[in-house]
Amino acid sequence: MEERDFDIIVVGCGCAGAIAAYVAAKQGKSVLIVERGESAGSKNMTGGRIYAHSLRKVFDKYADGDVEWDNIPFERKITHERIALMDPTSNMTIDFTSKELGEAGSDSYSVLRAPFDAWLAQLCEKAGCEIIAGIGVEDLVKDDAGAVIGIKAGDDEITAQVVILAEGVNSLLAERCLGAPRPKRSEMAVGIKEVFELSPRAIEDRFLTPEGEGAAMLFVGDCTHGTVGGGFLYTNKTSISLGLVATIEELSLSNTTIYQAMDDFKRHPAVAPIIRDATMTEHSGHMVSEGGYDMIPPLVHDGCLVVGDAAMLCMNLGYQVRGMDLAVASGQFAAEAACAAIDEGNVSASALIPYRTMLENSFVVKDLKTFRAWPQTMEKWDRMFTEYPTMVADVFNALFVVDGMPQQHLVKRLLPVVKQRGLLSLAKEVRGALKAL
């Protein structure tokens, strides 16, 4: 093999990139991470919560005891799952908690990416990686045959046997240098988030959680003013992350702006008390890929692999949102495939294909395939975001409102509510959704 500056260059020090770099360094490879943020995490944003299973597997296999699980800068272990259905003036919340939600292996944690990614970067440095931060990669360097052999950052060209592209969901390099299709407006959503400072005690009191534990909450309905999307809330150690996600295509044709919808959401009677007296400390935005399995771009190239959000590895099922656990696993697999290919002295696409195979044999592609039909189903299910929350409000008002007027039997009260929305079409739509889920 030709002489190169590094065995592996990783573009981007988020979850996927950092884990790829860490795993490669642990296998004795020389690794350079190039991160465009001033420090790792400074350009990254999540809702957010990480399901810990894939991170556990990486550390079980590679950490040799140098990672103390309790020292990872997670925010809170999520032991309460809440789903809320809201129309403009009503809200119905389901709150679920169980032992299983918190058990090692099925545990999940709220995270803030600035501290979390900074910790990942430190881990990489300890494992022997070099990190250049504050410089973006503008281009990939290719040889005459078109194989990727390095990166161009600032005035420098730096070469490597394999480049692992972990640049995130706004994947400029994958599109411009690797021919990945630009994601469609209908496949991408925009996320808007604000962080609100609150005391740990206030957080635990407002969400009824044990000390140190937290809640995750997803909102469906009027929060996006009828646009396909939803609201989210995660409790951190001393803050709350609150935000909205809406499909770009629909939002661009809607009659609201994303920041006005966010402001209205914050004022909703079911949300306002949660953030009462809290100081807003950051306002952020980020894209989310929502097209599922069918929008995964080509991942394996001569001398180059695409991982994490740049590979569009993300799942939004409405009641479950996942990205970082997929990113971590893809980073691990990419590093393992790259290291093996370097050891064999062949980094062509055909020699790197085990990355794709490992993804396909893992939960990453299996889960994306299982829920392949969901993005299209959700897109067509506009009543989920408009009529049904109102129907739920009508049903519960029929149950609970006592105003002194002579009451009718429950069935008589409920039937008109359900009939108005169409019992058959409701059954059909629910059946369709259940099939896709």
Binding site: K43, L172, R185, S241, T257, Y259, Q260, G285
Partner: protein, 103 residues
């Protein structure tokens, strides 16, 4: 068709809590016309709706404006309109742009 939705948020305060290094050297986002006011109205209105930092504005007088300084670098405007009025979208220059302290 292209009416601006009613906005009651104080847009200027929206990103006031954030930390930025603003690149005085110019915008990392460019359009098909030098003067944004000359851009297609319907396409521009899409950007007004999708940009989470409220950088795309249509004033009471109907004038369109764009300010890159508060950009959150999400790329939403690129995905929305790179095939119409967004002509150039690059990441900000080294050390420039938003710096999330929480993220």
């Amino acid at each position: 068709m292209s009416t601006v939705p009613e906005i009651t948020v104080s847009v200027d305060e929206l990103i006031g809590a954030n930390k930025y290094n603003v690149d005085e050297g110019g915008s990392h986002i460019g359009f098909t016309a030098e003067d944004v006011d000359a851009l297609d109205e319907a396409e521009f209105l899409k950007l007004v709706k999708v940009c989470p930092a409220a950088l795309y504005k249509i004033g009471p007088d109907g004038r369109k404006s764009f300010d890159y300084a508060g950009c959150l670098e999400c790329g939403t405007c690129r995905i929305c309109c790179e095939d119409t009025i967004v002509a150039r979208w690059n990441n900000p220059a080294p050390m420039m742009g938003v710096q999330y302290r929480f993220g």
